[in-house]
Symmetry: C2
Subunit: 334 residues, 2 copies
């Protein structure tokens, strides 16, 4: 058990109120008393008890973060941005992952109930409206990468649709007319947006949409591998494939190379996310870079702006731009 404010007061020979005042700079304190208090604090290694403080202030100094998974650089970058911004303002983050299973999201929220002052929710598989029903009314909440139709719900994301759109347009410009897509999970909002971008790009290019060129995946390497195999067996063999994320693109790349195909000469391949590895595959993978760190920072800034009532810090709705990265897997001259 650490020292309490009473111990400090006794040692410094002042009242606990005075200790509290030097601690929070909430009122002027005499020079000598302040010094005595500060000395006592460092001598005892005193730290205010967060529980006691929370109880009185009715705030915890923390935010809850709910994400579908901890794996992948995607989340790592996002969490880093989130945490960095939070730390800068003295907040901490309580991270809850893997709310894929039914009820898990709700359970995680219960767990966080009363331990946080606000929430960040990334729940690509469920609409914000539906999720919002689970969070307490007065709890400031920011949504990410979620299906949200109500514009008053605080929401940030990056431009999934635009990124996919530009990738496919790039493939068209490289001369491809039969472009397949390996999709992400149909319930995931980002996957749906990327699919929409793919379709819009084809349509705007005067190419016909062919359902047989949409191969189902779930963002994993394994699903990309299976889809790659399926693509090679399909009657209308595409000359280019856009994979909904880099992981599944690797799976497809593996499948193609196993059959001796050259990329991009025999079949071009593009991904999405630009994770570290993508630069180092053979050939390097064309992809769409997403600003995960920046998204995290802005999200946290917004959330803090909400609880601190700083309207100019609240940046929502907000959609950050994504960047097309062209490498050899789609362009032999890259």
């Amino acid at each position: 058990m650490g020292a309490t404010i009473k111990d400090v007061a006794r040692l410094a020979d002042v009242s606990i109120a005075t200790v509290s005042r030097v601690l929070n700079k909430t009122a002027p304190v005499n020079q000598d008393k302040r010094l005595r208090v500060e000395a006592a604090i460092s001598q005892l290694g005193y730290r205010p008890n967060p529980a006691a403080r929370s109880l009185l202030r009715q705030e915890t100094g923390g935010f809850g973060v709910l994400i579908p998974s901890l794996g992948g650089e995607f989340f790592a970058g996002f969490l880093k941005g989130l945490d960095e911004e939070a730390q800068a303002s003295g907040f901490f983050c309580l991270i809850g992952a893997a709310h894929r299973q039914e009820g898990e999201l709700e359970h995680a929220m219960r767990q966080m109930q009363g331990r946080v002052d606000g929430m960040v929710i990334m729940s690509p598989g469920q609409s914000a409206e539906k999720t919002l029903a689970l969070v307490p009314n007065d709890m400031p909440t920011v949504f990410l990468n979620t299906d949200v139709s109500d514009p008053t719900i605080p929401y940030l994301n990056f431009d999934n649709h635009g990124g996919a759109y530009r990738m496919v347009r790039h493939m068209v410009e490289m001369g491809h007319e039969h472009i397949a897509m390996i999709t992400g999970p149909t319930i995931a909002h980002d996957a749906v947006e990327r699919l929409r971008g793919y379709r819009d790009a084809l349509r705007d290019s005067g190419l016909s949409l062919n359902p047989d060129l949409e191969f189902h995946g779930d963002f994993t390497e394994e699903s990309g591998y299976q889809a790659g195999k399926a693509i090679l067996e399909s009657p209308l063999r595409p000359t280019a494939v856009f994979s909904a994320n880099d992981f599944s693109a690797f799976g497809a790349m593996s499948a193609f190379q196993e059959e001796g195909l050259r990329i991009p000469e025999d079949i071009a391949l593009g991904g999405f996310d630009d994770i570290n590895i993508s630069r180092f595959t053979t050939p390097p993978l064309s992809t769409v870079r997403v600003p995960t760190f920046e998204l995290g920072r802005r999200t946290m800034k917004t959330l803090i702006g909400m609880v601190r009532n700083i309207p100019e810090d609240v940046m929502t709705p907000d959609v950050l731009p994504t960047e097309l990265i062209i490498r050899r897997s789609t362009d032999p001259d890259a």
Copy 2:
């Protein structure tokens, strides 16, 4: 502001003490009163205030987790195991990442001070003894993947040395006599252990240790790529390369293939960690599988055993086995 215990008591027409008793089953309560209380609780959606409870009980129900980074499946699996076990016992995890910079570890600990009942510290770059000086004396703490010489310090890990050893022995069995290693950061404990395994395997195989065959890396793809380039330019060209982790192995693979080398015919390559992607590279990567999830579970079980005083749950010191996974990058027939 949610309902308090008083609101429940008023609605159920009992005292707050009675409410507390049905809440904690700490003493028998009349059937009808219990029902009234339970009804009131669910009607009001009442949840006990964690701060108030912590204040009184002098415990938080949470554990702090300090890890060097959030990126990679390695940590994802570990955190998942940790969290799953914690949830099962009603605890939550406060995760702090990236304490690479000087003082960051200490800051994170300060932050967690008073918010957690115990800590999990993975600090590969610093000895446990040194780190332990920063944590409060009475705070139960488990170390992972750290340099710990004092056997009384609770410590878990998996067998880095043995995994590296078996990988290199495997390469020797495949007929290689000049085996290089791409190391991890020299300050990281796991990297050092893997290097030790490499050296011991060479020694036990009757091969000479050659400092010129140890290439410096830092676990990143980029460093693996650079080391790969350096290897190709080295006077004594090795026929096999053991990379300290899969990421850096990918970088090396990229460097080798850029020069048109065939793996494993021209040069064999092995990694460490067996992350998802390793199965899908061309060729698939031989590696060492590490039980990240299991390590997380056991760590948390141990920590809970410590705070709850359940000696049979405390499994420390403990070193989990690793598994050699042979794929085509070292064995053409795999």
